[in-house]
Amino acid sequence: MELAAWLILLLPLISSGLIGMGAFRSKAVSAGFSIGAVTCSFLLSLSMVANVETLNTSINWLAIEGLKFDIGLQIDKLSKLMLCVVTGVGSLIHIFSLGYMKDDKDFSRYFGFLSLFIFSMLGIVLADNFVMMFIFWELVGVSSYLLIGFWFEKPSAADAAKKAFLTNRVGDFGFLIGILMVWILFQTVSFSELQLNVQKEDALMLSGLAGFLIFCGAMGKSAQAPLHVWLPDAMEGPTPVSALIHAATMVAAGVYMLCRVFFLIEGTWAMEAVAWIGGLTALMAALMAVQQDDIKRILAYSTLSQLGYMVMVVGLGGEHDDHYAITGVAGTDAAMFHLTTHAFFKAMLFLGAGSVIYACHHEQDIWKMGGLRSRMPKTYWTFLIGTFALCGVPLFSGFFSKEAILVVAFKESIPLFLIAVVVAVLTTFYMTRLFIVAFTGDARSDYAKHAKESPSVMTVPLLILAVPALFAGYFNMHEPDPIILFASVMAVVFGFLFARAIYKNADKDPLPAKFGIFAKAMNERFWFDEFYQWIIENVQENLARITDIADRWLIAGLLVRGVHGSTELAGRLLRLAQTGNLQTYAFWFTAGLVAVLVFALS
């Protein structure tokens, strides 16, 4: 079984390597390798679920006295669940891509990058220690970079890729410092050993800081405020990529990691920080989503918001209970639960959006769509299922997982609970808005008028994804709490009614006119980007400019050229003694001698 575990990890790498080494010349072979690899990984993951309780295996990567880094696989409930999500959703998206990307000239490169991404993601999932996780964390970052910037000739895509990578790096900075702190505190980076040590150590305050720093990593990957700015821009990548990376897997990595190392932050002040950051992110992103017009961006903000949910609930913690099957902690379990369901329905939504975009010739503005219901029935229905799941309409998967979160929030923190409910209302609101505007009414552009249903290579994955989106919730169904049930149903109802009231038959968004500055704020994403832009231009660039000037003028100029110049000047001055006049020489001779005499005899 160890071999199988390694294969899960390595197959995508091999595929990516082979594509890179030359298989790229043939589209079919590249795609075959890539899809084969991820599918095999999926099947192997399923067999893991079936056959293995837990499994640990490792090989050494770097060992120096006092320092030992392994590449190790840790297969337990948590990682098995995540494996299935990643490879399962991944497989479907690979297949979807076949259709979506079939005309692209860099088709092979695309699949090579996809495989690389799957490899990196699986590395995070399987990692059994911090360093390995960090390694794959970075790799995920870079493969995401490559995929976002896949259409690198488009300046916006190239910039978005850069932005994503750098924002992630800021998070990783904290992550790495956190790892260093953990290492120095507990002399280990291995999760299992840490779990043992942490209980022994009584350095809560400091480990809280370590935990928070590690959370910074999650903040980057899972796009929590204030590092969330990259995710909407990342929609510049091909839509399947958005579905895979920016909805189902990569962004979930932060949540996954938090669940993995929850023991580190448990009981420390870091928990509260995590919870509030998550909650605020959820609220803020939901608000932003309300005023977006780009179909993918709406979904992106919705993703942000849902991730905020998950992070929040991780931070809330909740009770330990064996009932909770995966991690044993209510909050993390809820988070993982929502992560799983979200992965399915959000991937499906993105693929649906992709299908729409494909059909509309890469038109992404929802106000230029409309009336797609009749022209793209399969997409329509699956999108509807996804929307219901996301909104938490009862009996859809999202309903159960969201409820699990609300339960925990209700128990642990009423303010956050209220926020969560508001977010739920907003979620329904903006999803309804999207749905109504894009799929119902009349077509508002030529593209939308002539849109056709996508080919089956794209719709079949959609249909397949619809199944778990509908039913994934039942695997972890609990006795519903009446208050929570009420709250969540009301949220859905209110959200739906508001949206319907506003957007039914609307040709353009009426909100800006009504709410003015507030709507603008939402549309402009609360000016986060502008703020960062300002920081980059005024702080970062100026700092660099000052250093550059210091380097150019102070060190290279004043110091180096100064020394050089003054040396030469000294030479020119000194040789003025050589007047060519003999008597001056005689005078120098005498004067020098007097000096020597005085020096030596006194």
Binding site: Q583, T584, T590, A591, L593, V594, L597, V598, L601
Partner: protein, 198 residues
């Protein structure tokens, strides 16, 4: 007697040397040359006082005779007329004078440091006080070395000859080298001063 002669010769030497270098009356090199002759002669007088009779003779022969003749000859040959008084370079003059004065000052002070060390313990303090200050400091330093018996022999030409040529003393080697030097100088002078054939 010796003292009087010494004073005369010394004064003469210094005065005429000064006149060689800074003659307010004449800027003609010939005048300088003439005063140089006077200096040489005074110096040879000093030599006599120091019992170096042979050297005194050589001094007059070589310097006052040969070298000065050479000088005059060249002056005549070049027919250098009286050099026009150029503008005095006051700064360089002062600098030169100061540096030389400083040199002389250091020299004088080191002479004092060496020879006037025990002026206080000297018996002739009273006498020292009486006489002119400039010389007085040196009076006490009358070293006794000079009073040795060899004084007479020191001056003799015979002794000098023996010193020069005896194989024990080893001065024969430098002497021979000097002869080479003269040869070189001779040829050199010919080469430098002859007119180009081409």
């Amino acid at each position: 007697m010796e003292t009087i002669l010494f004073n005369i010769f010394a004064l003469l030497a210094v005065l005429s040397a000064l006149l060689v270098v800074v003659n307010p009356l004449s800027r003609n090199p010939v005048t300088s040359a003439m005063f140089l002759v006077t200096t040489m002669i005074s110096i040879s007088g000093l030599f006599v006082l120091l019992n170096a009779y042979f050297l005194a003779a050589v001094q007059i022969l070589v310097y006052a005779g040969a070298v000065m003749v050479l000088f005059l000859f060249v002056i005549m040959l070049l027919d250098v007329e009286e050099t026009a008084r150029r503008k005095l370079r006051l700064v360089s003059l002062t600098m030169g004078f100061l540096s030389v004065a400083a040199l002389f000052g250091v020299y004088k002070s080191s002479l004092e440091a060496t020879y006037v060390k025990d002026v206080d313990s000297s018996q002739d303090i009273a006498t020292a006080d009486e006489i002119d200050g400039f010389w007085s400091e040196y009076y006490a330093a009358a070293t006794s070395v000079g009073e040795s018996e060899s004084l007479v022999t020191v001056g003799s030409t015979q002794a000098l000859g023996k010193e020069l040529f005896s194989s024990v003393n080893g001065f024969i080697l430098p002497f021979e080298i000097v002869s080479i030097l003269l040869l070189v100088a001779m040829i050199g002078v010919i080469l430098l001063s002859k007119k180009d054939t081409k």
